[in-house]
Symmetry: C2
Subunit: 395 residues, 2 copies
């Protein structure tokens, strides 16, 4: 029965499917499906005896699945890129998580994710090397006047060498993601433990916070806007954006993007960095402080480091655009503070990071670019970007 069904779906897809599917590493313990084969096709399966239509929804495409006599639906996608992808199932019009996968926060929802094996997956595989830890922390924000939630990676040496202080990287997620992304999808702790064990990176702390839900209780109307525009950030007419007149009190109702986007700078400078420098053994100076982020987090890094040019010696933008020469040619404070300016993207994105780095080098900036082979605006690009960036900083 099983073999017959497989043959059927393969024929339906009209393509030569290699039958070497294995359970994905992101599956729930003991779950056989979803599977991935050597062509990087994803095969999902779910029992839905009374359904009339079940689809696998991955990479922006909905693939029809096929029902067998027992009411079990099976189907596979076209080949996917290496690395992590969000996906879901659609059952008679309902988009739901796949009960076979673990769940991740992205696309503004907790839902299914799948890791497609990659040639270079060794760098984010758990190994028997000295292990740091990823610490879940609540703290009070004076800006939002609420408790906030973040994750802090501490290297193994933080525990082993209690007299030592460490540099800190503040590392931000993208639009529709949250503070869980870098550890869960990004595998930050695993990448860092492996890098440090191999001597490729020095030990440092990484703080992963939420860059979207930072809504100031009392918006600061005196704070100036960044000197240049940013991709995805349109200038806002007075009274419509993040700069609400004082006296209106805290913003109510659904979160708006602008508020969190700009509010994050205030929370980072007034709450997160002071909390980290108070509670952890940190070298609290710009030369030992880095800011980086992916996509929206890269744009936030761009804005915040321009607005606060003497705060961070190391700057990383992963699929978050580029710095332009006109932004930095006269930026004396930025140039005298900055030690590394890193810009990366996926090979399937076209962000001009190589050209931007060349132009910035001509200004005397220690600029680096990195292009992740054969990946798009997804986590494999950002895992690799962290792997590269971490080897350049605090050295």
């Amino acid at each position: 029965m099983y073999l017959m069904m497989v043959a059927l779906t393969a024929m339906t897809a009209g393509a030569q499917v290699v039958e070497d599917f294995k359970p994905a590493s992101t599956n729930q313990e003991g779950k056989e499906y979803p599977m991935v084969n050597s062509q990087r096709m994803v095969r999902a399966q779910i029992s839905a005896p009374e359904a009339t239509s079940v689809k696998l929804d991955i990479g922006g495409v909905k693939y029809d699945m096929v029902k067998n006599a027992e009411g079990v639906w099976t189907g596979e996608s076209a080949p996917q890129d290496e690395g992590f992808h969000y996906y879901q199932l659609n059952i008679d019009g309902a988009s739901v998580p796949d009960p076979g996968s673990k769940y991740y926060y992205g696309a503004s929802r907790w839902g299914s994710g799948i890791d497609v094996p990659a040639a270079d997956e060794d760098f984010y595989t758990v190994k028997n090397v000295p292990q740091g830890s990823v610490n879940e922390v609540y703290y009070y924000s004076t800006v939002t006047e609420k408790m906030r939630h973040c994750y802090i990676y501490l290297p193994a040496e933080y525990r082993e060498n209690p007299g030592k202080k460490f540099p800190v990287l503040y590392l931000q997620h993208g639009m529709g993601e949250n503070e869980t992304g870098w550890s869960a999808q990004g595998k930050t702790g695993i990448i860092m433990d492996n890098l440090i064990a191999s001597g490729k990176a020095v030990p440092f702390i990484i703080v992963m916070d939420n860059g979207l839900n930072a809504i100031p209780a009392h918006p600061d109307t005196t704070q100036s806007q960044p000197p240049f525009g940013f991709p995805g950030m349109r200038p806002r007419p007075e009274g419509q954006g993040g700069q609400r007149p004082q006296g209106e009190g805290p913003r109510r109702g659904p979160r708006r993007r602008g508020g969190g986007f700009n509010g994050f700078q205030e929370v980072l400078l007034k709450d997160i960095i002071p909390m980290v420098e108070k509670d952890y053994r940190v070298i609290a100076d710009p030369a030992h402080r880095a800011l980086a982020g992916l996509s929206m987090g890269g744009m936030q890094t761009h804005m915040i480091t321009l607005m606060n040019p003497k705060m961070f010696a190391y700057v990383g933008m992963f699929s978050g655009g580029t710095f332009r020469t006109e932004e930095l040619q006269d930026a004396a404070d930025f140039k005298s503070t900055n030690k590394v300016l890193f810009m990366s993207c996926g090979g399937k994105e076209n962000m001009g990071v190589d050209q931007a780095a060349e132009a910035l080098k001509a200004l005397g900036i220690n600029a680096y670019s990195y292009v992740s082979p054969e990946t798009a605006h997804e986590w494999q690009t950002w895992r690799r970007s962290l792997y590269q960036f971490a080897q350049l900083i605090f050295k």
Copy 2:
């Protein structure tokens, strides 16, 4: 339209439904459904335009949901107990997580959970008090010869007072759950931070590991069985259970309950406790070491403390049965080591913890019992049990 539909489902249920539903605290950020009302009824909603049957599956009952003209299904459950419940939706025969909820590991799967407000929820609500952290840790197990994964709660004072050493509670989950349960569903860190801040508990470390996946690579056939039987543990004929003959090599294939259940003792004693006492500032003696667990974790606590009577001064069994007088009356080592023996259950369970504690007190044991009002074999019982137990230990 909305009001009409609500009226319809209320009539369908044939009961007076109070229309004061609010989004659950366990919802994904920004998601309106599921909701709970003041009668503790759960109302779910999902868009499934082509479905012919959608049900809300909670507390062992499947409640029919009703479709409106837009293809959105809505329906509610009977009143639920206060506290946390696992649940799922069923769409045309497919059991899937509700896209509105956050996800938790229980019933051997990641799936939906909902917190029904409780009169006493203050003790597990995040507050602006000194905050500890919950640390995600990987470590190498010499017993399983694999990397393992656990969570370690460190109180705020662990960070603030770097010269101080702390007692440790090893705290185990139940059948079908894993090392994430005590922190996520159990709210361990929040309960402890609040208890310590109010002076009701002394600061201590809590280690939360996986009690089911501990399969020794080379099973130890010399280890004796516990002297008495345990609920849920049937004696196994030779060669069928946890004691496989040497020379067969590591167990392959799906995990069997017996292996992990017994293997956990070996992993706890040979890997977890040594790792914690090496890597953390711990008072490494029996007087500052506690073992507790819920349900299966309580049974493991029962077995392990009987088998290792001089290891743990504090013992807690939450909905995990009771110690019997015949087990302890001649147990000189256990009695001379033990300082508190705590047994609890839900008021809707019938575990005889009060009678058991009375009988053990007559043996000179400092036994305590606790019955959680109006709750069953669920997390509200165990949150309350931790809250009670934590106030009794290391004092």
